[in-house]
Point group: C2
Chain length 127, copies 2
């Protein structure tokens, strides 16, 4: 048939509730903290943080990486000795480290807010 492996047709499913906004960014920053990496390997690494990578569109990750680069949080270069197509290798910058620190603080706060709600819920369990 056509030269397309027809994907499982990620059918318009309801967006997940309760997810953290822009959560992708701190996840990528954390992964890059372990060392330089390119988009595709970062994509797989996201499973660690609860992403369902199979259902994710890779363009989401690439877009975020390029945006992060435009903000100076990462820098990219072409991997010299790679087989296959050229791939961009991303590396964390000092600014990226700092932004990640801010993110961590925000996430602790967010966690506390979620806890507040969960506790409020449990306390008013009327049924």
């Amino acid at each position: 048939m056509h030269g397309r492996c027809h994907k499982p047709r990620r059918s318009r499913r309801a967006r997940r509730r309760g997810a953290v906004r822009m959560f992708l960014q701190p996840c990528l920053l954390t992964l890059l903290r372990r060392g330089p990496a390119h988009g595709y390997s970062l994509l797989s690494g996201l499973t660690d943080f609860g992403f369902e990578v199979e259902r994710m569109d890779p363009s989401v990750v690439y877009r975020m990486l390029r945006e992060m680069e435009s903000q100076g949080l990462v820098v990219s270069s072409w991997d010299a000795d790679s087989l296959g197509p050229q791939r961009r290798v991303y590396r964390l910058t000092a600014a990226g480290e700092e932004t990640l620190r801010d993110w961590i603080a925000d996430l602790r706060r967010t966690r506390a807010e979620i806890d507040a709600l969960l506790q409020a819920y449990e306390q008013t369990t009327t049924n």
Copy 2:
């Protein structure tokens, strides 16, 4: 001067990171679980969950309430014996209770994901 109390000019500040998407909805549902209430009182109740109510635009809350009503999660009626302007009193429906249960499950999952990231961060503390 004009009949407007000039607000502190909620100046275009960077949107907070690390907030949960649509967090407002489960907060309102939880507040309504304690009993019927109208928009303005719900607005104040949000402080419990980390919202900075002074900086919030009330229209955000009203919009959410109306959307929740259109989804059948709450029903509203006009408060008969209210002083001042008429106000809509919202009451939680069975569907609302159920949606809140789903939210709680989602939020527990979200919290687990945040924890995973925080742990990953702490484990790779290279500096």
